[in-house]
């Protein structure tokens, strides 16, 4: 068999010679200077001469030579096939086996695949060519006795029956060539080619087939990389969808009435987050506001956030059997107890949710709220011209998962006045870190409200966010941030309105 690499070299040299000549005699635009083309042509002719000598070194009878050369072209085509047509690793192994057998004109062959890898693409662990599995087993057993390292190296044996492993059980195949499929991280397997006649494989066969095996390994590696890339891309797309779905859970249309104004901000640290807030206008000009923070971040937190939103809407639909309008909706503490019971079944043991629920009543001029382990509410009292944090106790959701929870949550009542401001937020705001890893903190948040309480809700929110962003400038955000500002209008409309 001729070395097809020589043939490739020959073809390449002809082609580049042609190109050099074309650039020499063709129109001279911005191409290389003519002396370069002359030099290239000269070098090329030299290379052609060398190759020609190598190629025709052992002139063979014309009739015999024609067959191997066609075989060489075919083997090149097979090599290209490995590169182009292997859609799965099983196909690549199959093409490799066929191409190797035909090129080396082997009588039989088998391919042992590394069981750690063979499953990818559904390839069988062993592939046979004109060989019974029992024959392969006998050969493997015989090879184990060989003094050569059996799996790591390429090797050719001229006559197996001269080896001690085959002394007792002579084999029908005398010549054997072993070719490992070596990858950078993993050995993919070993290819064995067999011929009945002794002394029939040579080192040239080995080097040609090595290009086949390395090409096959390259193709397999590419497939694996493609599969990983595709998987990553899918995950990214799914995350994008999750992010869009979650975004649709966050209220876009804020409730409006002439006695309050609301401004909101939310930012997730990852594609999806565990912060949430929502509003509902209840009958009797009441407004329910909920905020919450699921422990942890990412997908798990996002699922529980969605669940919490569902619980809020379910419990705030109102009980149609209630005796009067006021009893139709649960008090905040009762709401938290019911939410806690609902979450008990599905929240993993180490997760919890903090939440606050406010029911603001315009007719009563006051609000009632329960704080389930959530950040303290910041408040501006217009009449007293004072900014403070509500101090109240209350346990987070999912911490105690039995009836006992209700003892740990209570309602707080407060009368609001015109011009009062409520700032509701998650710990992503107060625990945001600055350049020196220090936290933004409750004190700094309070200072901001002291400076801009007289503004509208939107401007107050912006004032806080601007300060927060300059504090955290350049730092990555590591927790979801949510901020709600509710301002009771300075002039409260008459009740008859």
């Amino acid at each position: 068999m001729r070395n097809p690499l020589l043939l490739i070299g020959f073809l390449l040299a002809l082609l580049s010679g042609g190109l050099a000549a074309a650039s020499l005699w063709g129109p001279h635009g911005g191409g290389p200077p003519p002396w370069l083309a002359w030099a290239a042509l000269a070098a090329d002719l030299g290379l052609l001469a060398v190759l020609a000598v190598l190629f025709f070194r052992k002139p063979a009878p014309a009739a015999v030579a024609a067959v191997p050369r066609r075989a060489e072209v075919q083997s090149l085509q097979r090599l290209v096939q490995i590169v182009q047509h292997g859609q799965t690793s099983a196909e690549i192994y199959h093409i490799l086996l066929e191409a190797a057998v035909q090129t080396a004109r082997a009588d039989a062959a088998w391919l042992d695949l590394n069981p750690d890898h063979a499953s990818i693409g559904g390839a069988d662990a062993t592939q046979y060519y004109r060989l019974a599995p029992a024959q392969a087993d006998a050969l493997r057993a015989g090879l184990r006795v060989l003094p050569l390292p059996p799996h790591e190296d390429e090797f050719i044996t001229n006559d197996l029956n001269l080896h001690p492993g085959f002394a007792a059980f002579p084999t029908d195949f005398r010549s054997l060539m072993q070719l490992p499929l070596r990858g950078p991280r993993l050995d993919y397997g070993v290819l064995y080619l067999l011929k009945a006649e002794p002394h029939t494989f040579d080192s040239e066969d080995l080097s040609v087939l090595q290009t086949f095996t390395s090409q096959a390994v390259l193709s397999i590696e590419n497939l694996t990389l493609n599969a990983i890339a595709l998987h990553n891309q899918r995950t990214q797309e799914e995350l994008k969808i999750a992010s869009e779905v979650q975004d649709s859970l966050i209220p876009k249309k804020l409730p409006t009435d002439d006695w309050f104004e609301i401004s909101t901000h939310s930012l997730a640290a990852k594609e999806v987050g565990g912060d949430f807030y929502d509003f509902l206008l209840l009958p009797g000009r009441r407004l329910a506001v909920i905020i919450g923070d699921v422990s942890g971040k990412g997908i798990t937190a996002a699922f529980h956030m969605a669940q919490m939103k569902g619980i809020f809407h379910a419990l705030m639909q109102g009980n149609p059997l209630a005796k009067n309008e006021r009893d139709r909706f649960p008090l905040p503490s009762r709401f938290m107890a019911q939410a806690n019971a609902a979450l008990a079944h599905c929240l993993e043991r180490s997760s919890f949710i903090t939440s606050s629920l406010y029911i603001i009543d315009y007719q009563q001029g006051g609000f009632m709220f329960a704080r389930a382990g959530h950040c303290h509410t910041l408040y501006y009292h217009a009449l007293r011209e004072e900014v403070f944090y509500f101090q109240s106790t209350g346990l987070g959701l999912g911490i105690i998962r039995n009836e006992g929870y209700e003892k740990h949550i209570n309602n707080q009542f407060y009368d609001y006045g015109p011009g009062d401001v409520m700032v509701i937020y998650t710990d992503g705001i107060v625990e945001a870190r600055g350049a020196g890893q220090e936290e933004y903190g409750e004190a700094r948040l309070k200072q901001r409200l002291e400076e801009c309480y007289f503004q509208g809700a939107e401007v107050i929110k912006q004032c806080i966010l601007n300060d927060l962003n300059s504090f955290t400038a350049g730092q990555p955000i590591h927790d979801d941030q949510t901020l709600l500002v509710i301002k009771f209008k300075a002039v409260q409309p008459g009740l008859a309105a």
Binding site: S295, G296, R349, S350, S351, F352, T354, A372, G373, H374, C375, H376, T393, G394, L395, G396, G398, I399, I400, R401, H408
Partner: protein, 109 residues
């Protein structure tokens, strides 16, 4: 984050050193998961060098709370920095867990 466990006659002393976040929470969870923990009457947690606790860190204590209570093992925290205590307090955990100022007070519980 370092977690050091030191058993004595009827109590186990856990010393926490560093930031208790999602990655170090695993260490603490391993410690609290040990079956021999239930042989002690008390688990004392020295928080003097605990500089930060994340929700994942709190989650570890929360997830073991019921099991310890069911087996009559008291979980007692002491030497807690104010910043860390605030985190326990906001979440309402100070009403469920015993948090005392000093080691002497913890031993007296």
């Amino acid at each position: 984050m370092k977690v050091n466990a030191q058993p004595s006659a009827d109590s186990l002393l856990l010393t926490l050193d560093g930031e208790l976040d999602a990655s170090s929470a695993v260490l603490l969870d391993t410690e609290l998961n040990k079956p021999e923990l239930l042989n002690f009457r008390k688990v004392l947690v020295d928080c003097a060098k605990l500089s930060y606790i994340s929700s994942a860190g709190l989650g570890v204590f929360i997830s073991h709370l019921q099991r310890l209570q069911d087996n009559n093992v008291k979980l007692v925290f002491f030497n807690m920095q104010e910043k860390v205590f605030n985190v326990f307090e906001i979440l309402g955990l100070d009403s469920l867990m015993t948090i005392v100022p000093t080691q002497d007070a913890a031993l007296a519980v």
